[in-house]
Subunit: 430 residues, 2 copies
Amino acid sequence: MAEALRIGLAGLGNVGAGVFKLLEEHSELMASRCGRSLEVVAVSARDRSRDRGFDFTNARWCDDPRSLAEDGNIDVVVELIGGSDGVALQLVEDALASGKNVVTANKAMLALHGTRLASKAEESGVGLAYEAAVAGGIPIVKSLREGLAGNRIERVYGILNGTCNYILTAMEESGREFDDVLSEAQSLGYAEADPSFDIDGIDAAHKLALLTSLAFGRFVEFDTVYTEGIRQVGAIDIDFARELGFRIKLLAIARATANGIEQRVHPCLISTDTPIAHVQGVFNAVVAEGDYVDRTMYEGRGAGEGPTASAVVADLVDLARGDLLPTFGVPVQKLESTPSATMEEHESAYYVRLMVVDKPGVMADVAAILRDENVSLESVLQRGRDPGEVVPVILTTHVTVEAGMRRALQQIGELELVVESPLMIRVEDL
Amino acid sequence: MAEALRIGLAGLGNVGAGVFKLLEEHSELMASRCGRSLEVVAVSARDRSRDRGFDFTNARWCDDPRSLAEDGNIDVVVELIGGSDGVALQLVEDALASGKNVVTANKAMLALHGTRLASKAEESGVGLAYEAAVAGGIPIVKSLREGLAGNRIERVYGILNGTCNYILTAMEESGREFDDVLSEAQSLGYAEADPSFDIDGIDAAHKLALLTSLAFGRFVEFDTVYTEGIRQVGAIDIDFARELGFRIKLLAIARATANGIEQRVHPCLISTDTPIAHVQGVFNAVVAEGDYVDRTMYEGRGAGEGPTASAVVADLVDLARGDLLPTFGVPVQKLESTPSATMEEHESAYYVRLMVVDKPGVMADVAAILRDENVSLESVLQRGRDPGEVVPVILTTHVTVEAGMRRALQQIGELELVVESPLMIRVEDL
């Protein structure tokens, strides 16, 4: 048998512990699958004394994770520290510079520095692997980079944040409001104390930036990802959506359009007839559409100790087997810098919720504004009547250009009888 | 750039033509992804003169496909001839023996000869790749062998035959009977003139045998796959299943049990709450459950020119990139020969349809027989009454051992008032 793959593991939180346990529990299986053993020879974490429920005394302890990068007895550094910059970035840069392979679950770091780090990996002739960074339990990086490599990818989209999907599912099943469900998710550990990264769509946007590069062979470009979260979605919207045959999901979508590459994260109304509408709770899913393969869908757990450890180890198995691929599927110099499409140019159908005072005439004003912006209405729903009081009115439109839609909503929001800013949710044609 | 990967393509039917077109259309993209070009240097098919809608005059024509195996200028032989034995098998054996990589879509050949061919590939140090053999559009071989390589797989199951899924979906949507929908499927080209391979479950069983080996690191063992098709499923069963909260799907299931590895293909009642229940029409799906990753699901088109070509080319891309893995995930000498569990030992809940003469007393006899075989009833459904006439009675049972269930049904079938052999469909707990 060939020599062991020697691993330096930085970060011993849930995921790090999961990787350690998996490699111990399945050491024989891994050796048989790789033709060599996978051995954690050094570990680093903030607090050595914490009881993690397993014994890592056979591995060298490093107080400073960066010393893993310098260790001549390490083949791969596994970075599970997190954070887009700081220690994690430093460690990864040093490891790549010193000719070590890197496996990371750090989507934020790759979304911001991915292209540069990929260059560094190439210069050193090592791998930079990150299956765990996007939809942990789903081998989507491998599927895009290898399994679908025969295709020109036309669109890739997914449910990339389990917290949001859990909240939206729970709202739908219980009829409760966002804040209420969020609190519950926090107490169950499905949402962070500061939930902004998840519920404002930032985490999904980080992941989308990586999927876009993989799918379209393009530089990683996080700052052009249009990002909108789920705070505005009300129980009433989920209810109206159901009545119209839709579910509301936070989707991350990348698509090649005539105006360039579109990258966007926002709540969507999607038909309950489409497979991804049935991905509920903390599950993630990704749909990739290729010109030869047509639609493919991948579903699994997006986070958690086990699924993320599974993804990290899959990368280690690849490295142990000697499979070394360009980070984003093609060498960095071949990555394209196709333009980014703007949201103003985006075309979609829209769901709009207006809170209006129930008085004759308000719909005439709304309809006139939409007409003047060339927005064609598909349906208008008002449930019940309550003269003189505030009632919700739901509009759905045919496909129209977003710039016009936004101008119309701006004007509608200024009408005297419209008492809140209109809520707009895109109706996604999947 | 490295030298081209030189391909010999045997079989120019739909899939072969698709591979040829894909490689032409995406030649630049493939070169950029592989770091070398993928070049079809020789082709072989039965009829040279047939117009296939594309120009293969740049490739050398071979009347005898086996000459591809001898050609020193070929790196990979792509076998798309089909058939478990005969020319296809001969070509693959010769190609492997002469040190050429082989890519094939031939599930029947691999189900019957897979272990032996894998040995041959290993002896010659070449690859035997077959992504296209199982669920064409879904990179499931790669996912099991690489993406989920960190896991011990506990169960793998799927909808592996698009024809059956199309028929069952159409029966559900239209309320029509099997024969009627089959004829339509044949006229639409979704079913063969001789549909037995598909509708009797044989095609799915071939594919399952390969998934089992990949998932459990086990010799390919087709002859112990329990196989039952969908001919017996009536519109009435689909209807009753819906009433009970289920859909009927032909599933192929491999599972590690206390009695050994279970491999079975048969119609199942599955809850409409489970994701695979929403895989409709010609789509295929595979669910793989690993001890760390938990449940993952993969969905896509199972057949057709484009998806199958996509899978063949994915294998070619792997070979061009130098990724060479053991055929079934571990070297042949490490494949296990864990025992096969028998269906008599199988435990399941059951759906049973009896056609009985509507007279008092018949249910008392049925219930007594079930009691004597230790089968516990969960529900009994009889819609409407028609004294003296034949009516369907639906039973569902709690989980029980299949041997007892079969004995009970044998006795029930012999009752005077039971006019047809009872129909039994397993209720699968997913």
